[in-house]
Symmetry: C2
Subunit: 207 residues, 2 copies
């Protein structure tokens, strides 16, 4: 009974360890470049140890994207939701993303920025999952903008889709610059660019 639970728990832990390592490796080698052999070696186990938890590479990829989404949610979305509703959340979601980069959660920067470009030309369930995440993240930013307009913290004539698009652009430009130049200064610069863009004059608070 307790041994049965212990086994289940260990199995779950191993699965979690696999999927976490897979997310990290995928930001370096890509979701296609991620190999079962490499992953097994990094975890000090055999390839069939991986196949005991995932039936195929695509299954592993789907679980990897799922885990990456979970991490993104807890490191970027949740901190933003903790801020006061309205313009504060617009700024907070960008700041949280920049902090996510700055703490070097993954060696290759934002998991999804890379995954979108890598899987865009590869139709299938993995691409669909990534596209859904992308749509969802843009929708979150857009909703923050809409609330800020409702509360008259942004002008009435602001186009929420356009501003969400621009903020997503600042996020992507920051990620690209950070990944290729390994330059933490861009994170502070990006925070100020966001503030100027939405008309906030407060100085940077974190990072």
């Amino acid at each position: 009974m307790s041994s049965d639970r212990k086994q289940r728990t260990d199995g779950v832990r191993t699965r979690e360890a696999i999927v976490r390592e897979a997310v990290s490796l995928a930001t370096v080698d890509g979701l296609e470049g991620l190999s079962i052999g490499n992953l097994a070696h990094a975890l000090d186990m055999s390839k069939s140890g991986i196949y005991a938890h995932f039936g195929s590479k695509q299954d592993l990829q789907l679980a990897t994207v799922d885990e990456a989404a979970r991490i993104f949610h807890s490191e970027v979305i949740e901190p933003a939701l903790a801020a006061p509703a309205g313009l504060d959340q617009v700024v907070a979601v960008c700041d949280a993303f920049f902090d996510h980069l700055g703490r070097r959660t993954f060696p290759g920067g934002c998991f999804f920025a890379g995954a979108v470009l890598e899987m865009g030309t590869r139709p299938g369930p993995v691409k669909e999952q990534i596209a859904e995440f992308q749509t969802g993240f843009t929708a979150v930013i857009r909703q923050f903008v809409v609330t800020a307009i409702d509360r008259h913290q942004l002008p009435d004539d602001v186009d929420p889709d356009a501003l969400a698009f621009e903020l997503n652009g600042i996020i992507l430009a920051t990620n690209a610059h950070f990944v290729i130049h390994q330059d933490p200064a861009v994170l502070e610069m990006a925070k100020q660019v966001v503030r100027r863009r939405v008309g906030v004059t407060t100085t940077t608070s974190s990072g």
Copy 2:
């Protein structure tokens, strides 16, 4: 004599054909995922036919990045330089990029947007070449902005680095959206976002 020149010309042509196909394949499979065997098959030749022109995969990657830069220059930078100096060039370089996407030059969208994220964690000459391109492109946009400020087409207090950064962000967000959603409508939307951002009220002219 003429046969000697013909041979040299054919060799050059084959090399150009290889490198062009390599750029296209690399926007789908990445610069690492690009394989000599795949490339040879796409060109109906043998692997050793590739090795007759490039000593190693890294040599091929360097030539591929070089060719991608050449194509980018002719499709994005040159059209912008043809526009009147100042704010027109700021808008023109963005428009030219969106047209570059719209005409589907490569299946995977912008070569460099993908290459930056893929090679960012892989130190070496290929990464350096990509980083230099990235720096150069940002510098071009920045110079267009500086000229626009000099000519009082943009306010004096505009930060050229910040605006160039934002415009690069709009470009990256457009590429990501276009690649994952295959949605040409985003190109028109992006053109209008750029115009609003720099205070131009003219309607879109191309695309």
